[in-house]
Symmetry: C2
Subunit: 418 residues, 2 copies
């Protein structure tokens, strides 16, 4: 089965090489219309998924993520319309020249081919990925979570209907609807047909893909993000940034997990931080030095952080605190514990800012800004396929360009190599 | 052992983040000098490798590839000096803007980190890869073939000495000298420290890397390249291109392996081709249609091509011939049998040229030119790490830029996300 899906996706990808922007946008527009036109069918299918989820005792948080409403459907349709307005990157001449030999050469941006996406509960991801792949002329094989299988089936039908109407190959977007996990493993070995795998899920899924896949995998989405306050940081200005980074949306990967504080300001800052964070409902997990400072200041309900806690994403109202004695100690902590996602320094020192930026190796490095900015929309990419924390092909928020590759084209006048 | 090498490489990579172009070029210059200064030691070590190879009955071709001479050493040293003249891509601001939020953002080109390279006999690859990694501020872990182990040891010493003199970390370039193949498998799993694997070798090595590696792998170097002559092709002009593509250096990956001929010109062209190719010592392997044309024309010593032969690299004076009835049939043949390396059309038709370029999905696609142009030096990249036939990160000849990634840097004025 998976082999047939792969073969059909590849065939469709070849046809998509000739698709015009107009055709692709027409299909996108039909998808946006379809989401509203067929809202009753979508919501009914979604209701079945929710009932299954409730019967299987899934958490309210997960059920909320898979639930569609009128409002959410409208938002998804609007996101599709937004993709229509984005510039089509396909066909762009990246660079070109006439070589010494006389060969006229250019690098032209082309679709990657077939993209496999493995993701979890949220049904909006189905539309999201399908539209971004379609806009860039790629075929996609989608493997959503079994929790949204009924919703996904309807959405894929709407997408394929739109492809048909735009005279595009309907197999350009396919989904694997069988919940059996063996199909994930099979998909990861389908290197004959699939050019790139994007896992969207937790650390376990990423590890599975890295270990099993014979296809290039874009890993990412795991954010063990730090803010370092050096000894020149403005304490008043620091607080809102820390609050924003930790509490605006704690479940996202660009959320602050560990605050590194220079020892020279720790005594003054920690009690203030503790008070504000307690008000915000954030629990602190502190290292020994911070513990004794807070204890001396009369705080009692404090918890020591473990090494394990420093290596994980909280994704909740919990914040680790570590005291460091220098910028280099902060950099070393980040190198040891960070996931290469987003790191920030709060400082008034130009030298420290530049050193931090140069020495910290992460997808996004900030000076006096919240880590929450690491996001395709915030970065002006218009959309986001994933956030990569690996270094090949794409790093950080991946927009449309990350779904393309290039082809060298050489025009000769009956030219041979000397 | 391998873990220590990985850890040291990563630590060195962090130090290299701060290396200046001057420092890196100084190290390169010392390496070039060292290759000539220590020529006696290098050639003596190389002599030991050659003796082992002869004792082990390796072929003359392999022994020739691993043999160093005065002249070859000079050529290698010159290649190093050429890398000095190339522009250092590190630090380039790829793009940047002020976002709606006020965040001043830029994408800066940075080193990838640690690069693992697995290669075979040729000792010049050791210097080649080491200098390109060094120029781009990357650490490298080199695993050369066991045939050149003594030569490589001396070369690595020269490199590390040069690093020391330039005040750069000597562990930036390390090699795995133990010939045990288990170290290759271990290297492929070292994702904690290594960011990219480049295999330089045959199809089996690439497959091993794809299957075993938990680190992104750049596959490539396998070239099942085609030239398609459509029915408008100029037969006189076609011959020199085909001769160049097949015979200039048959052992390279950009060599022509299969010629696709439109049926309308086959009867006229095949006898001429047969005669010229026989003169050049090239043996033809032809499909049934070509067979009967040649037979009717009185040729006797003709061989039928097998499906298996169409799926392999000859890398020798052998050429497959397939007759097709249309451009689309040629495209389909290339999609089925090609390795995504280099494909060329010989035509006088603008429409056919554009269709071929659009429909053929390969790293390099040519119009009226030899496939032999697919090469870092020919493409003006100054150097070549490998030729990628996969689509992520880099495609086709990989120069210095392919050894870099980027980092998003955001400067805020105490900025939080709304």
């Amino acid at each position: 089965m998976i082999n047939q899906i792969g073969k059909a996706a590849k065939t469709a990808a070849f046809e998509l090489l000739l698709a015009t922007t107009l055709q692709k946008n027409r299909a996108l527009s039909t998808i946006a219309d379809g989401l509203l036109q067929y809202r009753d069918i979508i919501l009914a299918a979604n209701q079945i998924d929710i009932q299954f989820a409730q019967q299987n005792g899934l958490s309210d948080a997960i059920i909320d993520r898979l639930r569609l409403t009128d409002e959410r459907l409208k938002a998804i349709a609007n996101d599709v319309r937004k993709v229509i307005t984005l510039k089509d990157p396909i066909g762009e001449i990246i660079d070109g020249s006439i070589l010494e030999s006389g060969l006229k050469i250019q690098r032209k941006r082309v679709p990657i081919g077939v993209i496999g996406v493995i993701y979890e509960a949220r049904p909006n991801v189905t539309i999201d990925i399908a539209t971004l792949c379609l806009k860039t002329g790629n075929s996609a094989i989608l493997r959503g979570g079994k929790e949204t299988i009924n919703t996904n089936k309807v959405m894929i039908e709407i997408i394929q209907q739109a492809l048909l109407q735009a005279d595009l190959p309907i197999k350009a977007i396919q989904s694997i609807n069988d919940p059996n996990r063996q199909y994930i493993t099979q998909l990861l070995k389908l290197d004959q047909y699939v050019d790139m795998i994007i896992p969207r899920g937790g650390a376990a899924l990423h590890q599975l893909c890295r270990e099993q896949s014979t296809i290039p995998v874009i890993t990412g989405g795991i954010g063990i993000c730090h803010i370092f306050m050096d000894d020149t940081a403005d304490l008043d200005k620091a607080l809102p940034i820390i609050i924003n980074a930790k509490t605006q949306r704690p479940s996202t990967c660009n959320t602050l997990e560990t605050l590194l504080i220079h020892q020279n300001i720790a005594k003054e800052f920690l009690p203030r931080l503790h008070q504000v964070m307690t008000e915000k409902g954030v629990k602190l997990h502190v290292d020994k030095e911070a513990f004794s400072i807070l204890q001396s200041a009369g705080f009692t309900a404090i918890e020591l952080v473990t090494d394990e806690q420093l290596r994980q994403e909280w994704l909740s109202n919990d914040l680790n605190i570590v005291i460091v004695d220098s910028l280099m100690a902060a950099v070393k902590h980040i190198r040891e514990y960070g996931s290469g996602h987003s790191e920030s320094i709060l400082t008034r020192s130009l030298a420290n800012a530049e050193q931090f930026v140069a020495k910290v190796d992460a997808a996004a490095v900030y000076v006096n800004a919240s880590t929450r900015f690491t996001d395709g929309a915030q970065f002006g990419l218009g959309a986001e396929v994933a956030v990569s924390t690996q270094k090949l092909h794409a790093r950080g928020p991946m927009g449309l360009e990350a779904l393309t590759t290039y082809k060298w084209i050489g025009y000769g006048d009956d030219l041979i190599r000397e």
